[in-house]
Symmetry: C2
Subunit: 345 residues, 2 copies
């Protein structure tokens, strides 16, 4: 494991801000490298194909995809770093003060689609923006199981909670709620999965919770929560770094536990059907996708999140008292998953 990146600071001067972009860019690349290496070992068969790309307007990225592995039908791990003369409308709606400024954005983004329907799909994205004198961090990680196992979901949430708790006691409760609200299909009044953590616009001014995606408000929680918490850049940097490092311990044990479970057409068909929800969220609501498409990012890299095979079925009906019905009734509802487990050691 590469040693953790820690910007040097003094009490009075933020040295990191002198070269903040370089620090975050390095962090995001390192996250991509470490996760790819671990996923290759976890899969045991597949290897990553890398495509390095440049963006005409400025910047570029490294896209890596593993296909037809032993565990993963498709694993996409993207790094990108882009800059330009103005932010797209989807960002300016939330950050009007960033208008008329050059911008810089970097991030790492992961979507894993396993073959086995008993292994959940997982998503991670961490990102950093600068525009004029404004900067902020955003991102999160969330789990989308097809079959309901309390211990898997509790483990995933507990691992993320542990990373959050090391930085601020409000982070996990606030960012867990934000995730539940964000990964919500308004047109179906349905959660996408069992959540995890999500945050956006985390800056030095420090409203933990600055409101919802304009299109995706779930209305699950009626009021904004969280208190202003002024934070230095370095604090947020190390928080995002630690969240990124919590990803593998949160997800890999679930893969190990479920990868050999037998399944048939019924489970595969349900997985392909639920993958449709993933596509709907990505194309209708997802901020990262919309940002990428609006800034002329590389389409193949942006849409690498879409599953290799998907099914839609008109008027699909759940059979009562089945694991599929339990997923909808119990798992796709916001709840405190960490109550089911002691903190991850």
């Amino acid at each position: 494991m590469t040693p953790a990146l820690t910007p040097q600071t003094t009490p009075s001067i933020s040295l990191a801000l002198v070269d903040a972009k370089a620090w975050v860019s390095k962090l995001m690349r390192q996250l991509q490298d470490e996760i790819c290496q671990a996923l290759r070992l976890l899969d045991g068969v597949g290897t990553f194909q890398e495509d390095v790309w440049e963006r005409v307007e400025g910047g570029g990225g490294r896209s890596r995809v593993l296909r037809d592995g032993a565990v993963f039908e498709q694993a996409g791990v993207n790094f990108s770093e882009v800059w330009g003369s103005h932010l797209p409308p989807s960002i300016l709606a939330q950050h009007p003060e960033a208008a008329e400024h050059k911008f810089y954005a970097t991030g790492t983004s992961i979507v894993l689609h396993p073959h086995n329907p008993y292994v959940p799909t997982v998503h991670l994205n961490y990102r950093y923006f600068e525009a004029g004198s404004v900067w902020w961090f955003g991102g999160g990680a969330d789990l989308t199981p097809y079959y309901p196992f309390t211990e898997d979901v509790a483990h995933f949430h507990s691992a993320l909670k542990q990373a959050c708790d090391a930085h601020h006691p409000d982070y996990y409760p606030v960012f867990k709620r934000w995730c539940d609200e964000y990964f919500y299909l308004k047109h179906r009044q349905e959660m996408c999965g069992v959540g995890g953590i999500f945050f956006d616009y985390q800056d030095s001014q420090g409203q933990l919770y600055q409101g919802l995606h304009p299109e995706g408000a779930a209305g699950i929680y009626s009021n904004q929560v969280g208190t202003p918490a002024p934070r230095r850049w370095e604090e947020l940097f190390t928080f995002v770094r630690d969240c990124g490092e919590a990803f593998l311990p949160a997800y890999a044990p679930i893969v190990e536990r479920r990868r050999s479970t037998g399944y048939g057409d019924r489970e595969r068909n349900f997985q392909l059907y639920r993958r449709g929800r993933y596509v709907e969220f990505n194309l209708v609501y997802d901020r990262g996708t919309i940002f990428g498409l609006q800034t002329n990012g590389r389409t193949e890299s942006i849409l690498m999140s879409l599953p290799p095979l998907v099914r839609w079925e008109y008027n699909y009906q759940l059979e009562p008292n089945t694991p599929e019905a339990e997923l909808y009734e119990t798992f796709l509802k916001p709840q405190d998953w960490t109550k089911w487990t002691s903190p991850v050691k």
Copy 2:
């Protein structure tokens, strides 16, 4: 065949406008009935399942779906008629004068996904809006082949041109271009299919061409085209009626010609891959989908357009000198298809 609906009019008084909504609603239902009946005969095996639904805020619809037929993997034919206190933002952006008014909207919408990759996917939608003293017609029909056959595309376009030409010599050239611009995937710089006709905001004031979908401008044609053409409501009603009636003669002969062509995994995989573009267009750009989701329409009916099985493949590469490459190089480019054929008899 039910006799064509023709509102009675006098030179000075538009009797149809006394009950315009009832006239269009009847037309749209009749179109749904006639097309379902013909598709059932064309398929020969499948039958339509009907779901009648009501919308809490006002109105409802009749959704009909045929699945696992001899020809059609899925055929969705929707009628809907909705009303409410205010139009959603996606419509008001183009029609700001309709704000603060109650609205009424009715339409019929069809998407057919055949099993055989040699049979093209086809889409039809015709619709009518009223809000305050404003009313307009919109819609069109377009073809999405997977394999390139000039005679099929030429036939489809010629049948629509014939319906248009009977009403106004500018309709086909203008609405054909509009269709090419509308059914365009900006993020891929790629046409969805080979087009057909598309128009929106056709009212008595009569700019034939009132500009593009704000998100989907292809920039294929640099200037607005068409001249103002004041038209009575009845003229537009009969135009839309005739377009609707041109659908079966435009599409059914192509089905008959291709339904028995043999195919294998290669063709099926290419079809499933190209269906992904259909999903991308529907969820990112399509006005009907966005209107439906924004007005709390019935999600299962709105998304009945999505294909039953879809594939995404990262960085898919065409092999040179294959039919798949020919589709991209020659067919997915705007061109005058009617030059290849004499008008449909």
